[in-house]
């Protein structure tokens, strides 16, 4: 899609907004609709749109496949690790009171932000991975083919 000037310019403008919106959905999920799952999907859309309009190689310079694969596991480990931490401190698994024993409500807030971050990272990475897996097998076609 090299020659679609309007698409390229609009995409360049939009990608920043999309990612900012993803971060908003991620960290404002406590107050408004949204959370890790939705934010992860929106964030991955930012990368996917870049890859569709520019090229797969361009995205993989920013977000190389090996790094995305690591991210998949890091998100899940962050989530599970929060639970393990609360267990080590002597609370139940995934009981966020453990993070701030003197002020349990704060603990809950930190816990929710942490695990939502884990969810967001994993979902982003998985979506991007699936897209990479499909897109890297696709032969580059010209617009006439559609």
């Amino acid at each position: 899609m090299r020659h679609h000037l309007i698409l390229r310019v609009v995409t360049k403008l939009l990608i920043g907004v999309i990612m900012l919106f993803a971060l908003y959905v991620q960290f404002h999920g406590d107050y408004s609709p949204g959370g890790g799952f939705q934010a992860g999907v929106i964030m991955s859309v930012g990368f996917i749109i870049y890859s569709v309009v520019f090229s797969l190689a361009d995205v993989q310079k920013v977000l190389p496949p090996w790094f995305v694969h690591k991210l998949m596991a890091i998100g899940l480990l962050l989530y599970a690790g929060t639970g393990v931490y609360s267990m080590f401190v002597g609370y139940n698994y995934l009981d966020y009171d453990a993070i701030s024993p003197h002020h349990p409500v704060h603990g809950q807030h930190y816990g929710i932000i942490l695990i939502e971050l884990g969810v967001g990272i994993t979902v982003t990475a998985v979506m991007v991975t699936i897209f990479y897996a499909f897109a890297s097998r696709t032969p580059v076609m010209d617009d006439e083919a559609w």
Binding site: D30, P33, V41, V45, I48, Y79, T122, V123, T129, R137
Partner: protein, 171 residues
């Protein structure tokens, strides 16, 4: 409804993928009217966004048009009709929409609404329930997403590596 019928009838798979995206967007609107904003959000992002892109990606790998069916559609139609009838019959036993005496409204919902401001103090109670009260559930969901990613990676990427290795051996 019309969109769903169009999805079934269209032969061009490209149009089908696009119509499926439109169908997801419409069902997201349906969720909004049911006051399930979080679900609508997910449906719009995943159903209308990502899955359409993935379907297009798959289309690029395979053919553009559906093959004419090789067997009669009577038996599948029968199975679908029976399943649909069973599902509709099942909904007859459910409390009607917005019924204040439904079990979900009587026990769990008031309990969560009462407890979460004191215990968690997060204005969006959906987040409080998903992340804290049902933390195990959400951990399981993330594990499912992770497993799906690993599965796609093994199936599609693994195949390519193996083929490349074979090419190298042949050469």
């Amino acid at each position: 409804m019309c969109t769903a019928l169009a999805v079934v009838r269209t032969q061009s798979l490209f149009a089908t993928a696009m119509l499926a995206g439109a169908f997801s967007l419409l069902s997201a609107l349906l969720f909004v009217t049911l006051d399930a904003v979080d679900v609508a959000f997910t449906e719009a992002a995943v159903g209308a966004g990502i899955s359409t892109v993935l379907m297009l990606g798959t289309l690029a790998l395979t053919a553009r048009f559906e093959r004419p069916p090789s067997h009669s559609p009577v038996i599948p139609l029968f199975v679908v009709l029976v399943t649909g009838a069973a599902l509709i019959y099942g909904t007859l036993d459910m409390p009607s929409f917005g019924d204040p005496n439904a079990p979900a409204q009587v026990h769990l919902a008031p309990d969560f609404i009462q407890r979460s401001p004191e215990e968690i103090d997060v204005p969006n109670i959906v987040t409080a329930i998903l992340a804290s009260y049902r933390g195990y559930d959400t951990l399981g969901e993330v594990a499912v997403v992770f497993t799906a990613g690993i599965g796609v990676l093994l199936l599609i990427n693994g195949l390519r590596h193996r083929r490349r290795r074979k090419d190298k051996e042949d050469a």
